[in-house]
Symmetry: C2
Subunit: 346 residues, 2 copies
């Protein structure tokens, strides 16, 4: 049995969506136990809507407070000692659960994870990975916001963590890995990416394909794109901003004149399918990699279905022992690097 | 008379499009003289198509070589001493022309400009500015690729140069300026952006609006977005990649089934108008700011119309003395900063 906690108070549609997502997951996956964390009464009331859900695999843990989407994470974590995020993460820390899912305040989930769970032995910085739809499938990019100033060794670790995630959770037996940079040649990029390039080139555990330029990101040229959290965050958020602008303009243009409106009605199915292809709720949430435990940060607007998918990802993550693979790969890689350094080959 | 040089051999449709663009510009703007640089015979032959163009304002300067789009800029500039890029830039250097336009190899135009024209007094690094269509108009972003590793003073200079360009060429009397970063508060961002934030906050010549997050870029919250060339290039190229993916997927989806095809035909006007709104050829080319002279780098696939627009921008640039404004603003700002530093206020 894999024991997964969900923050009932996280997200724009709490507590409804987290609880519905949990019920869907309980029904679909027989090998998980779910712990709902939040105000007892709220949970009890919401659960009345699901009289047939398998209660024997459902646990409720009371948390009297919760952190809103707007609160400053650091302050909120200090002040609200009984928040659903903290109580949930403490369950993982105490070994009473294996994974934690929240669609709540991203900064608070991340900050709380670092504060209570801490990074794994050997991991210098945890990273948030995101899924990008591409012309040839899906790539994952990390870090997209947990770490602003990164050294090359950190980005190497992100690459190793993303590699394990792609391999064991996304079922890509031999993931390809690149680093986000400008220019294809190894001489291109900034100081950090050039040094990272050399480190990844030495790493025997990764199928390293060199620099990935911005223009190649949505072609899907590699499975894993590693970068510092500043660059990754800019790339992700600029993409979201552009997608929003294009869809807004398209709606405006399709709304002009009856001729276009007719066209829009007729092609609405195509637009819906496009939206589905661009939608990555299928992956349920962005994994926070490198902490003790499995943490998934779902989008604030996640549907019950998306949250159910977060349970699926968390379940596979725990079952396949991704953290152990990450630990092994990082330990092995850094031992090799030290060996190379000590022998003066670099 | 403003004297503007165009590289006849630059771009995917050379020499046709550069020459047609020049002819269109000559006809539309009576106060410019154009110098066509490239192989004499090629130019003479192409010009036969325009028997009525005002030849008295047209000069031809022979250059026997040209640099292709694929060549490594550094090597090509060294080897091809008689390239159209070099010959054209030398005309500006010698004072025989005021501005240079090329739709050729971006790296070679940039490298050649730095090599032959050099940066203006007081300017530490030249920057490439690009135009972004937004939900509320157009923003310019710089640097998008000329400088990979930047210090805060460099980004301050980019902000000042972008400010002058927006004001004098784009006719925005009081441009607003932001820096590309993560998080809105001044405490957010990486080491470089936090330091840049403080510098811009001290700058009296700029209407500084703080950090611009990735998610705000296409909302058009400011007129000028300053950033280092690495981050700017990633933001620009990731955007191009995403736009390409969305348009490809949309075409695929609209091509499925007769019902959708009919919808696509009916809404094709809307899609065309959308494309036009996203298209920034109206601006003709990306200015390379901070060099002695005016240099515009147009897209390789530029239409004659787009190149005509580059002439328009170059003409305004020269007429309004943008370089003088840039020089004045940078000199004044850095004198103020030194004054503040010397008085221990920072």
């Amino acid at each position: 049995m894999h024991r997964i906690v969900i923050d009932v108070m996280g997200g724009d549609f709490a507590p409804q969506n987290p609880i519905e997502g949990a019920v869907l997951a309980l029904e679909e996956y027989q090998d998980i136990e779910i712990c709902l964390v939040g105000p007892e009464q709220v949970i009890a009331q919401e659960l009345q809507r699901y009289p047939d859900c398998p209660r024997e695999r459902l646990r409720i843990v009371h948390a009297s407070e919760y952190i809103t989407m707007e609160e400053a994470p650091g302050i909120a974590l200090r002040r609200k000692k009984d928040s659903s995020i903290r109580v949930g993460l403490e369950l993982v820390k105490k070994g009473e659960a294996d994974a934690f899912i929240s669609a709540g305040n991203t900064g608070a989930v991340m900050g709380g994870s670092l504060l209570y769970l801490k990074t794994m032995p050997g991991v210098a910085k945890a990273a948030i990975a995101t899924f990008l739809p591409t012309l040839s499938g899906t790539s994952i990019m990390l870090d997209v916001g947990a770490n602003v100033d990164c050294r090359p060794e950190h980005i190497l670790q992100f690459a190793l963590m993303g590699n394990s995630y792609a391999r064991y959770v996304l079922n890509k037996p031999a993931p390809t890995v690149g680093i986000l940079s400008i220019g294809e040649e190894d001489s291109k990029g900034n100081d950090i990416t050039r040094q990272t390039f050399r480190l990844l080139n030495e790493c025997s555990l990764i199928d390293f394909r060199g620099n990935v330029e911005g223009k190649e990101v949505y072609k899907g040229v590699v499975d894993v794109i590693a970068c510092d959290g500043f660059t990754g965050n800019i790339a992700l958020k600029v993409s979201e901003s552009l997608a929003y602008m294009i869809s807004t303009m398209l709606k405006e243009e399709l709304g002009r004149g009856w001729f276009n409106k007719l066209g829009a009605v007729l092609s609405v199915k195509a637009l819906k399918r496009l939206k589905k292809r661009l939608d990555y709720t299928e992956y349920g949430g962005a994994p926070l990699l490198g902490v003790n435990g499995a943490v998934f940060i779902s989008h604030g607007s996640s549907s019950p279905q998306a949250l159910k998918n977060a349970f699926r990802a968390a379940r596979i993550y725990v079952e396949r022992g991704v953290n152990q693979h990450i630990y092994d790969d990082i330990t092995k890689t850094f031992a090799q690097l030290n060996h190379i350094e000590n022998n003066g080959q670099v």
